[in-house]
Symmetry: C2
Subunit: 323 residues, 2 copies
């Protein structure tokens, strides 16, 4: 039997999973990334994690066909290089070679969001759809498109930066250097920022009672969700506004990509209908009816496992073994 390994190297944790060739996650282990200790340290740790994973799962390493790795940032999946990953502080890191050298296995790398969307497309909420737009709402807003079952990369492997579409309604400065990027408002960070700004401007909200002596900086998107559920007018306003902005951004993506389905994942997807109701309403108004009529919208099903399964299966595909 052939096994695959899928891996997600995040700013906080490294997660490795043993996956079968049908995409079933069999066993999973997690370690803190400790990126501050340098990439060599992280790769040494990953080498040991793979040994540990194989041992815990009770298989031989020779039964593992390939390792697939998702990392944040800009990736060259052909050369196997992490070009730039801000939250790992990696620039031009030869991720695939480094992990291959430490494990003796073929390694393919890709962007973590692409792998998440690929996992959901093959085994999750978008199973059976040919044209899948996947987005993740977390610290930022990311997206990836699968067209005819194939990942869409674009020039420089840079396609899909939905979070960096400009919106006239937004005036926050973005880390990318522009002002008004969608993700500065439509993200966990963005939702908290909008609420904080309103409270600073003197708006009254149940959230102030929860914060008590903490500074406004402690406010999170989860607090806004909770306040929404309590009927707090400010929280309702922030969620509706965020959903409206997301709907406008998605309208551009739907019109250009023409997906069959939009899958929404990431921590922000936990906001659910608080965010999606106004998003759906805005999206319907902002696209030609021919798109809307054939569009399905779902939340992601696989949670954190999508990236593990996606990177394992994508690597399996790239190894060129017919399934």
């Amino acid at each position: 039997m052939n096994y695959l390994i899928g891996m997600d190297i995040g700013g906080t944790n490294v997660v490795c999973g043993l996956v079968d060739t049908k995409g079933k996650l069999l066993h999973k282990i997690k370690q803190p990334t400790e990126a501050s200790k340098g990439s060599s340290y992280v790769f040494d740790k990953i080498g040991l994690m793979i040994e540990d994973l194989v041992l815990q799962a009770g298989i031989e390493k020779s039964q593992v066909s390939v390792i697939g790795v998702g990392t944040p940032g800009f990736i060259d999946p052909i050369k196997g290089i992490t070009l730039f990953a801000g939250n790992l502080r990696w620039t031009q890191v030869h991720t695939a070679d480094e992990i291959s050298r430490r494990t003796g296995l073929p390694v393919f790398i890709d962007n973590d969001v692409r792998m998440y969307v690929y996992g959901e497309a093959v085994c999750g909420a978008a199973r059976g759809y040919e044209h899948v737009l996947g987005i993740t709402i977390g610290t930022g807003l990311a997206a990836s498109m699968i067209n005819n079952g194939q990942l869409y990369y674009g020039g420089g492997y840079m396609a899909g930066e939905l979070g960096h579409i400009l919106m006239p309604e937004i005036s926050y400065r973005c880390g990318c250097g522009m002002t008004g990027c969608l993700e500065t408002a439509v993200s966990g960070t963005g939702i908290a920022r909008q609420a904080r700004e309103q409270l600073e401007n003197g708006r009254v909200s149940i959230m102030q009672e929860w914060l008590k002596d903490s500074s406004l900086e402690a406010l999170t998107a989860a607090d806004v969700s909770k306040a929404f559920d309590a009927g707090d007018p400010l929280a309702v306003e922030v969620m509706n506004h965020t959903g409206m902005l997301l709907g406008k951004g998605l309208a551009a993506a739907v019109t250009l990509y023409s997906p069959d389905i939009i899958v929404i994942g990431g921590g922000g997807a936990l906001a659910g209908e608080r965010l999606f109701a106004s998003m759906r309403e805005q999206l319907k108004q902002s696209v030609y009816s021919g798109y809307w009529d054939r569009l399905t919208i779902k939340t992601a099903e696989m949670l954190d496992d999508a990236g593990i399964v996606g990177s394992a299966l994508a690597a399996w595909g790239r190894l060129g073994i017919a399934r």
Copy 2:
């Protein structure tokens, strides 16, 4: 020697061209479409045009490998059906079968703008680029994306409707049912409409002298270009505004598609720098610098022949003959 035939069925004319397998246009003939006489009449005419083309070129029909056809509107290129083409008044027309029956040759059809962009990508301004965003500015604003050398269709073959991205700056009603579509302002029609609206609102312009006794309805985008060259402030304003809007629309497309090059064609491309200067300035401001730095922008090179050559070569590719 193998020959190909490329064809463009437009609302006004049918153009047929004999093309070699390297994409060189050898001979071309044109006839009025007369779509009002029904699709059967048009197909009968096309059958005769093909005979005529082969005769004039001095070759045997048996030397023609395939016919590629571009038609406007929504197309199913796999089934060979023109699903809906407003300006031909065709709904669910089996274009490929009808032409194949009258010529005895294999026929592949596709959307005319996709074929235009494919022609420019293979033989024209975008030759040698892998990721090509092509747009045509004419009566409307259309676009098509080529990713890794392959046409991007999306679900329902409906991708790329750049002209139907909504812009908060635009309040014109669009034929598609929405209000504020980019093409209602960024198109030949849209440029004329903006100028006309300003003149109706009492603005003064050299264009009024040119019109004399003609109604404002007679005003065209070419008049606005001419007035721009004469330094007419209204024309300058309309062109700059149109270029700015196009730049904003392209920013969304660049961020989502990540093209290596944008090729701008159609009659509107004749406006040249009058339109492109402000477009470029806006686009640069509205995309992450990583996109801008690697982006090339060119005007189309092949004029009306791009669609003929593109449809011939696309059909040749679909016939599955290795070049």
